[in-house]
């Protein structure tokens, strides 16, 4: 790997430090490379250990001299050149203005990249309102209408359900929800998305003891984490869901339900 002169012998000590022999010289010679400057001299000894020791001493000597010289140079600089006073105020103005300009530039470039993540025009158009014909929905039945890909529960409440709902006032957190059906409007419109973690609650209108509730009077049960809602979407106390099933913006126009537009 290494090319070596037949007559010369090179002994590597450390990076930039080596010993070598020369033709017709009985002594070891030292080689030093200190900060790019090359130094060579005979160490005047034929003993390798001694030569190594001398080489280290010589290196320290050179380094010491260099640092003294450097200090001296710096010292002299003060005499030769008039100290240039730095106008710190001016410098601060420059720093602040360029900093602000830089920040504005970064923020400006961030706008298109961050805005690109917002719903596109196409996505917005797909989020438009939908119509549903209520005349075919029997009492006690529930239709699932899709709006913005969300299942919307449209429940036609029975008279029994309307009478039963006040009995649950003690079990739900919010007695007077606006989704409560009345004798004039027996339709309940809810987002079919559990307010806990977005699962779809299941419609269980039957009045019978359930595994999750012995006194079940009909309602919605979320199989994911066991949240319970009554038929008007009011959330029971002590379940993971924090609030009632949400009510999507909607309005009635005769027998037509329009989801996505508010009154």
């Amino acid at each position: 790997m290494f090319k070596m002169s037949k007559k010369r012998k090179h002994i590597h000590i450390l990076d930039g430090m080596s010993l070598y022999t020369r033709d017709r010289s009985p002594f070891y010679w030292g080689y030093l490379n200190i900060e790019g400057k090359i130094f060579k001299k005979s160490l005047k000894t034929a003993d390798k250990k001694e030569a190594e020791k001398l080489l280290f001493e010589w290196k320290n000597e050179i380094i010491n001299n260099l640092s003294i010289k450097n200090d001296k140079d710096e010292h002299e600089d003060h005499h030769h050149f008039k100290k240039v006073s730095v106008d710190q105020k001016r410098r601060n103005v420059l720093l602040i203005t360029s900093g602000v300009m830089g920040a504005v530039t970064v923020a400006g470039f961030a706008v298109p990249f961050l805005s690109a993540w917002k719903p596109s025009e196409k996505a917005k158009a797909l989020g438009a309102s939908v119509k549903f014909d209520l005349s075919k929905l029997e009492p006690g039945a529930m239709a699932i209408v899709e709006w913005r890909r969300t299942p919307i529960f449209v429940v036609h409440q029975t008279q029994e359900a309307i009478d039963n709902l006040p009995k649950l006032n003690g079990k739900v957190t919010d007695k007077a929800a606006e989704s409560l059906p009345t004798n004039n409007n027996k339709f309940t419109v809810l987002k079919g998305v559990c307010t806990h973690l977005s699962c779809a609650p299941k419609y269980h209108p039957e009045i019978e003891p359930k595994a999750w509730d012995q006194d079940w009077l009909g309602g919605f049960f979320c199989p994911c984490h066991g949240s319970k809602f009554d038929l008007a979407g009011r959330v029971y106390k002590g379940v993971p869901a924090p609030i009632n099933l949400e009510i999507p913006p909607h309005k009635f126009s005769g027998n037509t339900l329009i989801i996505g537009e508010s009154v």
């Binding site: 996505a123 299942p151 973690l197 977005s198 779809a200 924090p242």
Partner: protein
Amino acid sequence: MASKENSNSLMSWIDRRFPVTENLERHLTKHPVPKKVNFYYLFGALLMVVFMIQIITGIWLMMFYTNTEEGAFASVEYIMRDVEYGWLMRYMHSTGASAFFFLMYFHMFRGLLYGSYQKPKELVWLFGCFLLFLLMAEGFLGYVLPWGQMSYWAANVILSLFGAIPYIGPDLQVWIQGDFVLSGITLSRFFALHVVVVPLLMIALVVFHIFALHEVGAGNPEGVDIEKHRDSKGMPLDGAPFHPYKTFSALPAIGIFFIVFFAIVFFAPTGGGYLIEKPNFEEADFLKTPDHIAPVWYYAPFYSILRAITFGIPFLGITSKFLGFIIFAASIAILFIVPWLDRSNVQSIRYKGIYSKIAMILFASSFITLGYLGTKPVNELRTLIAQICTVFYFAPFILMPIYTKYEKTLEVPDRL
């Protein structure tokens, strides 16, 4: 190296321009590592192997995958049925994800046991915690891509967590999704994040993790500082060069790992529904939630913590859902500050006191219990157990500054 200045060899020509030899020596052939370590110290090497598997199989999957709502599910079926060895690529990638987490959890548990986060290794630990966070993000993003039922609904659950943040939540969720609901728009951006952004960050952090480690030196199960005793050449007496000693000792471990890994890939790639869940073989249907949404096993402990929080702080206006999100985030965030929680004068659990040992047992058993509960449907009893385990998950960390300071520790030997 004998005479860098004089030699004309090709290697020294390169070395003067790009220090190959110097860095090989620094990081491999002259990098000292402790002589005596146990199997816990192999997980780092195995993690590198798995990361490589994920990158290579990922690139090949990307060649056949379609990142649209209409095409994603079908393209995964196409990979499975029509592409030669496509099934192998996909199952290696999906099993690789599980292996990544499995190894990562053991790798980090090793850190907790043997104090691999203590001064001066804080940054090694921090970079590692960031890697865990990125891995969790990467796994989540990747799980959405096949666009199966569980992909869709699990993503809905996670994205709705952002919606739970007060005031900005709903808008933030729409911004992340790029739509009013989780849709193909979301899928496309998740694809970009999964294949470019997160892997790039992970590669950078792996480099930082290893550079930091090589600066401070690897630890050992005894917590002995091997730098104290050196031979005349400056090599620690209790150390050995990384290469060939550690590289070759890692080879059998990699062999054993491959046997287990490919046994799963070939014979149980879905892991009975734990590695790839059954609903994910059905295309995403946004009107039909699966009856039971369970995360993949590696998220189960954190998911359990999330749903164990069934109460909010009403007078602060914090709902149970948002509090769940906070505690869930805290369960990962608390790992980041462990270096500043441990005030023990010894590193290794072997020389720590009884309280540290109890704390580690509590932490490990609650983590496993939470993991089990996370894959099961909820009921009252399970919620209660999950709540107790959540307390036991946090207690070892929160109480760490107290018990590590006052407990009686054993004297650490001088030599390994």
